[in-house]
Symmetry: C2
Subunit: 364 residues, 2 copies
């Protein structure tokens, strides 16, 4: 069976690396010739709307998935192949307003928010929700892009000047204790498998460190319950992620990603079955594997530069994942993972490695 | 860095899958267009002696290794690239007589044996060593091929008729309690990392089941000492395997393999760093990773046929590795692995799965 993947970034690359041992084949479509997946699998290079290349992908693949949530849904519709997860799930995740509505409909707590289509609507939203708030584009936001924190009327003018040309929403800015994510998979027959909750540390809008498992059984159970609702709502097939803020022990949904997620990279070494393998299993119509954690894991993103391999690999127990990308400021080039015997040993390791790799990053 | 690999079988395929996350690239040379590594990496298809293809491999690779011990050493010499492990180690493993001499020189206990170049020398060897014995070709034997057990003068005639056209050796047939193997790596700077001892069960001359870790600390220490001697002797770079018979608690070396080994496949999920990653790390001049076992592992070879994927993957905790080969009787098509919490849980799992996959195989 050949799985077609729209998008050939590091997520796609890791999907293929997880699927090859299962005897599955892959073909990717990406706009860039140097897409990371292209180094390890056949890659069609074209715009996602290129009819010829889409037809070729459809011919060569039995089923299609995506590694990027901004793939145009019309292109997927045109393929005439099973799309997993569903186009409905993707379309919801592409639009922050639809995503918020879904959270509300499924009784998943989220921030208060208002649609903003004009300067007047923005003023109205601010009157209702107040400062501080966050102005966000409804579409194409990721890694902190397409959003602005607004604390004063001056901020508001600046944010509007920067973002006002696109459909927006304004939401309350939640002072949170920490950020977490829950990742899980649903198979075609409806069985689900949920990974332990992950604790995420960001800097400059990008994920820097994930630690898992995190939090009390109660907190995990809440997050898993919300994730189940979303999985069942879409009759979802594949891996789905929801990110939350935690405030006074309660979860507030921030956003969902209809795909494997950076905060789940630790599962490659840290869980019985990785998020990548479970996504591929689900997409291929196979049973899911165990999501049990194998210890106390940490994942550190390598952003902008990768230290010499030999220096990284000299750290006992460090697992390195390079994505084969050219270094560039602010670019995710790889990650490294450790599976420790205790949260304390893990955190000591993270602090030591961060001091070496990214002295500006501190973890609580 | 690009690693050239002579031979593109399942071992090569798993080397590439282990090396990609380190950011390494691969190129393979194999005689078969359908070599398993060719599905996931660039593959040159030619005889191993094809000068044009060897030159191309040398141009595209920074360093060369092999996944098969019968690669012609002359071809490697011609490449003009660093060969790791060394040609000397490969040449020794290609000739059972040189291998036996090495074991003797390094005081690694082995069976008594005699070179056999003629019918008369065979009669002489049998007089000295007696029945039962094993007549083996010095070269190109694997998976029980190129050898015959000899218990009577009639057996002897038959074995001679079958094998006598090639250089041979005759060795005593050791009644053993079990078969084990030790696998370890040596890096360019001389550091070594040795995996726990593995217990191997064979049928029809082929490995069927490996379980690890196996045996007492004393037995592991003996095997590791012998492996160290061989690693140091060759100033070896990469993974080396020695197979032993165990008789009354003592090790008797059977043969060595200058490469990753079927009995080490469990290390993909069952050790901190797999044998494949450690081989690639050594070949690329990188530090070695930890060889610590993560539990009690079993590996079952899938030979001749592979049951439906969905049926296999429905077994909780089962890890599947398919090699992308066409099914054929007696062919290694894949393997599956389990990491259990205890030897007992592991053995129960192995027995259950064998009853389903290969009812003819029983493990002690």
């Amino acid at each position: 069976m050949t799985i077609g993947v729209m998008g050939g970034g590091q997520l796609g690359r890791m999907l293929a690396l997880a699927g090859y041992p299962l005897g599955l084949d892959f073909i990717f479509l990406d706009r860039s010739r140097s897409a990371p997946a292209g180094q390890i699998a056949p890659l069609l290079t074209a715009e996602f709307t290129d009819r010829g290349r889409l037809a070729e992908l459809a011919t060569r693949a039995h089923v299609v998935t995506f590694d990027w949530e901004n793939v145009p849904v019309d292109a997927l519709r045109r393929l005439g192949r099973p799309i997993r997860p569903s186009i409905a799930a993707l379309a919801t995740a592409q639009d922050r307003a639809r995503e918020k509505q879904l959270f509300e409909r499924l009784r998943i707590p989220t921030t208060r928010w208002r649609r903003v289509g004009s300067r007047r609507q923005l003023a109205h939203a601010v009157r209702e929700i107040g400062f501080p708030g966050v102005l966000k584009t409804r579409r194409l936001g990721y890694d902190g892009k397409g959003q602005a924190v607004v604390r004063t009327p001056v901020d508001l003018d600046r944010a509007w000047d920067r973002l006002g040309s696109a459909p927006l929403l304004y939401e309350e800015h939640v002072p949170f204790d920490c950020e977490v994510s829950i990742i899980g998979a649903r198979a075609r027959r409806g069985e689900t498998a949920i990974y332990p909750l992950c604790l995420n540390d960001h800097a400059q809008g990008m994920l820097r460190v994930t630690r898992a498992p995190y939090g009390s059984a109660r907190l995990h159970a809440s997050a898993a319950r919300y994730l189940h609702r979303a999985l069942d709502h879409f009759r979802y097939v594949g891996v789905l992620t929801i990110e939350f803020f935690v405030r006074a022990g309660r979860l507030i949904a921030n956003e969902m990603a209809p795909r494997v997620h950076n905060s789940g990279h630790w599962t490659i070494e840290g869980a019985v079955t990785s998020q990548f393998e479970n996504h591929v299993r689900a997409v291929a119509g196979l049973p899911l594997g165990s999501t049990r954690a194998l210890g106390h894991c940490a994942m550190i993103n390598l952003i902008g530069t990768v230290p010499p391999r030999a220096r990284l690999l000299a750290h006992p127990g460090l697992h390195l994942h390079e994505y084969g990308k050219e270094p560039r400021q602010g670019r995710k080039l790889g990650h490294c993972t450790l599976v420790a015997g205790s949260p304390r040993a893990r955190d000591r390791w993270v602090r030591g490695l961060l001091a070496e790799l990214a002295p500006d990053i501190r973890i609580p």
